[in-house]
């Protein structure tokens, strides 16, 4: 038995992050306000997306601009499998009969969305993962544009750019919290797996990694598929949180927001991914509140529309200038203080 116990050394991180997410859920539960409830649901969904991004970007070092495409795939799976058949017949008459008649629970749709997205991640990734650096990043962006173009034009199956409505709305915060916690644990499990270690080695020294026997495109592909599955499940739940989907729901806006959160939190850290969401979501909420207008004495103070996006951009630029590795850098939350990769001497565990 190896003296190093990887699981024991690292389990604190997902547990702490889960406790943090549970705390948010409990606050929303105690407050009992519907808008606040929706805000916390949004935060949980962003956690799913950003943790999905982290699983690939954080471990591989390849910046992906295309992962929201997998959320789009998952979102439409939710529409195809949960809307009442009569409504589907009107909005999406080209669906095959078996899909037209399908009506499954939201959690099953999330699983189906994750599986569907994972399949397409495998197909796209088999080609894209052979690329490196900026070429790989641009190719992922091309993938996003392709998926968006297909879903915006295949009117008989996706209703093109029209909103697909009638997706059963799930208002309880608990399924979203469970999804966020599951995403955290999946990302953690991957990062401590042998494929996770191999991928991080390939990220830091690809030449030496290849000379160590690592098949770099293959380990990248594994991460791409797992992260695609997380994004797909998140996309399905996103559809259930608002009750509708359009191709543009899952396009540049969400790509920018989720990447900003990952950059701010720290691309090389699971804790950073979650903290990035919590910090930027809080900022976004405050700005939304200010955009809606605040009563100050006899007058109302309101920020102009679009300030949220500008503020996100400014925060991201400032982080890139002054702390390029993000708030957490490569460290993880492990209790009293953040932990950089494995400081423990062997034999002390």
């Amino acid at each position: 038995m190896a003296r190093y116990s990887i699981l024991r050394r690292t389990i604190a991180t997902p547990l702490i992050l889960s406790a943090l997410l549970l705390a948010f859920a409990l606050i929303a539960w105690f407050v009992g306000s519907r808008p606040f409830n929706q805000t916390v649901i949004d935060i949980f969904l962003q956690v799913v997306f950003v943790v999905g991004l982290y699983t690939f970007i954080g471990n591989s070092g390849v910046i992906s601009f295309g992962h929201i495409a997998f959320a789009c795939l998952g979102g439409y799976v939710a529409a195809w499998t949960t809307i009442k058949p009569m409504m589907k017949g009107t909005a999406m008459p080209g669906l095959p009969d078996w899909l037209m008649q399908m009506e499954i629970p939201f959690w099953a749709a999330a699983l189906a969305g994750g599986t569907f997205a994972a399949f397409w991640a495998l197909v796209f990734g088999a080609v894209l993962m052979r690329l490196s650096g900026i070429a790989a990043s641009i190719a992922t962006f091309a993938m996003l544009a392709m998926v968006n173009a297909i879903y915006s034009n295949w009117s008989s199956v996706t209703a093109a750019t029209s909103s697909v409505v009638g997706i059963p709305i799930v208002r309880s915060i608990w399924p979203y919290m469970i999804a966020a916690i599951l995403a955290v644990f999946v990302a953690w499990a991957f990062s401590i797996s042998r494929h996770g270690l191999a991928l991080r080695a390939a990220r830091d020294e690809p030449t030496a990694a290849a000379a160590s026997g690592i098949n770099i495109p293959r380990v990248r592909l594994i991460a791409f598929v797992i992260s695609g599955a997380i994004m797909g499940a998140g996309g399905a739940l996103y559809a259930h949180s608002i009750g509708l989907v359009t191709p543009d729901t899952f396009y540049l806006g969400l790509t920018f927001t989720t990447l900003s959160m990952l950059v701010v939190g720290g691309m090389g850290s699971l804790s950073g991914a979650v903290l990035g969401v919590l910090i930027l979501s809080s900022l976004i909420q405050v700005l939304r509140w200010l955009e809606a207008g605040v009563q100050v004495g006899a007058s109302t103070f309101a920020l102009p529309g679009g300030v949220q996006e500008i503020a996100l951009g400014v925060v991201m630029i400032l982080i890139l200038m002054f702390r390029p590795s993000g708030i957490m850098g490569n460290s993880e939350l492990t209790g009293l203080r953040a932990r950089t990769e494995k400081p423990v001497e062997p034999g002390t565990d």
Binding site: M1, A2, R3, Y4, I6, I192, S193, R194, H195, L197, A198, R200, A201, D204, E205, T207, A208, A209, A210, A211, S212, G213, I214, N215, I216, N330, T340, E341, K342, P343, V344, E345, P346
Partner: protein, 250 residues
Amino acid sequence: MNDLRADKVSVAFAGLKALSGVNLTVSPGQIVGLIGPNGAGKTTLVNVLTGFQTATEGAVLLDGQPLSGLKPHEVRRRGIARTFQGGRLFRDLPVIDNLEVTGVGLGQSRAAAIAEAEVMLDWVGIAPLAGRIAGALPYTDERRVAIGRALMGRPKFLLLDEPAAGMSAQEAAELSALIRRIAGEMGCGVLLIEHNVGLVLGLCDHIVVLDSGAVIEAGPPDVIRASEKVRHAYMGSAADTDLPVLEVEA
């Protein structure tokens, strides 16, 4: 038959020949030296032997089977390991993880890779470094970690690219002893590329001398020592920086 062999290997970059019909054989347990002035093509040959560079002509054979077309990770999985001039450690990872990466690269579980890494750290004599972050190590320790990493999975052949660069005479002597153990105890064939000609002459059973991409001499240390062609290749170098600068007790 159980050899690593370069058979008339040539490499050309945009018409410029980096290697011309190079023959070289390493047998299990043998230490072969590869020396030559800067730009002789030594690292290019190592790159060809390990799948990082494709030969324009000729072939690389392992146990008589051609390795042509294999990617570097596939060559490694067939038992040919290498180190790099600059160390190329995974600098953000602890030393033990640097070794573990090779274990998982060769298909082991993490637990099995860690177990072997601990044994290998002891064997190489760097067990106290296990928990240190690789990027913070002194230069000479980096070299030893790189050798430990390459030895994971007990390769059939180990190609060491300038492992003694920057080492003192004492450190080079320790390295020399380690290389002997690798060949003797593991039965691993070693190809040693090294500018420290003193170390190579004291350590190797057979030495191949490259100059301008071609083999100009090959044989046991005594033949190399006495060779006019070798002397000319080194003395002819503009700054003579490749002359044996460090003698190591054999």
